[in-house]
């Protein structure tokens, strides 16, 4: 089961990427805060921006989010029955804004 885009058009989309916004729901089931507003640092090229700007391919057994600058994989989210696998090795760090901060 993958999270797909905002008007359900991915099935007609022929594999066009979405963006990190499309991961918001699946990540909010894991984290207590919104991660799409967090800043990542790409392990491949050190580019940094909001997770919402990552390029996301939903047509796979999970969500694969790539750096828009160097196209390296930054985040992978794979759902399985009763659990979720989160692979962050492409991200040097996440900077998460805290409310009131």
């Amino acid at each position: 089961m993958t999270s797909t885009p905002l008007d359900g058009s991915s099935t007609a989309g022929g594999g066009l990427p979405l963006d990190g916004n499309a991961m918001a729901g699946d990540l909010r089931e894991i984290f207590a805060v919104d991660v799409t507003a967090a800043r990542y640092v790409c392990a491949g090229c050190t580019h940094t921006d909001a997770v919402g700007t990552l390029m996301v391919w939903p047509h796979s057994p999970g969500l694969v989010a790539r750096c828009p600058h160097c196209s390296d994989v930054v985040i992978r989210v794979v759902r399985a029955p009763g659990r979720v696998f989160l692979d962050l090795r492409g991200s040097v760090r996440l900077e998460v804004p805290l409310e009131g901060g």
Partner: protein
């Protein structure tokens, strides 16, 4: 409102369809009654999950169309895709009084907050208007005066969403301007032929980069990338351009 909208982990919950209305021949607004809804920011979306009798599940994300007001309902506008798995059910099958499963609100990056003081440029392609309409509505609810400009690209006049409301808001909401780009068919007497969004449209009807506007671009992936590239080429700060891609064609 914003505080509760982003705290705690999320789970799926049931919502009841309280009301529905057609916005165009292929787009329907669903008014949902969601118990204990924590409120939302304009630009956020929800995930909808449908479960078939055999257990098969399909999940989609839909932008919230309404501005939040305490005690209010949550509105989605669904564009029907004839080969879609979920949208035809939401536009043509589900009836008032029935329930669906949802998770949200989610997304904290593609949002506009009334505390932002900069002018705002909204660039919509097709049903990409939905989250941007939530921003227009939230501005009116908050009673703030940041100047807003909306450039709305749509195939034909029949496909327009919220046509009457936008006309009314341009008259009544001070500081809101709307420009349409028709890509396939224009209204009678329209001054230019049908065309895709281009440099001229964004340069003429957007804000000058010097004004430092916050730009929001939403629509099909190719539309979003074209419009965002033009904005950067015109001199807009890429850090002030927020985008949301819907995937396939509008």
């Amino acid at each position: 409102m914003a505080r509760t909208a982003v705290s705690g982990r999320l789970t799926w919950r049931a919502a009841t369809l309280a009301e529905a209305r057609w916005e165009s021949p292929t787009a329907r607004t669903l008014v949902l009654d969601v118990p204990d809804w924590p409120g939302h920011l304009p630009g956020q979306h929800i995930d909808v999950r449908l479960t078939a009798e055999d257990g098969y599940r399909a999940q989609r994300s839909y932008s919230i169309a309404s501005a939040w007001q305490p005690g209010g309902k949550v509105e989605l506008t669904i564009q029907r895709l004839d080969d879609g798995e979920v949208s035809p059910y939401l536009t043509d099958v589900i009836e008032v009084g029935e329930q669906l499963e949802l998770r949200g609100p989610v997304g904290g990056w593609f949002v506009w907050r009334p505390q932002q003081t900069a002018p705002v440029l909204l660039v919509a392609g097709g049903s990409g208007l939905v989250p941007l309409m939530a921003m227009v509505r939230a501005r009116a609810v908050a009673g703030t005066r940041q100047p807003f400009r909306l450039i709305y690209s749509v195939r034909t006049p029949e496909d327009l969403l919220y046509g009457d409301e936008l006309r009314r808001r341009v008259r009544e909401d001070q500081g809101l301007d709307v420009h349409h780009v028709y890509t396939r068919k224009t209204p009678d007497g329209w001054p230019s032929p049908a065309k895709r969004i281009d440099v001229a449209a964004l340069n003429t009807y957007g804000w000058p980069p010097d004004f430092g506007p916050d730009c929001y671009v939403c629509g099909p992936t190719t539309f979003v990338e074209t419009a965002a590239d033009i904005l950067v080429a015109l001199g807009h700060d890429p850090r002030r351009i927020r985008t949301e891609r819907f995937g396939g064609t509008s």
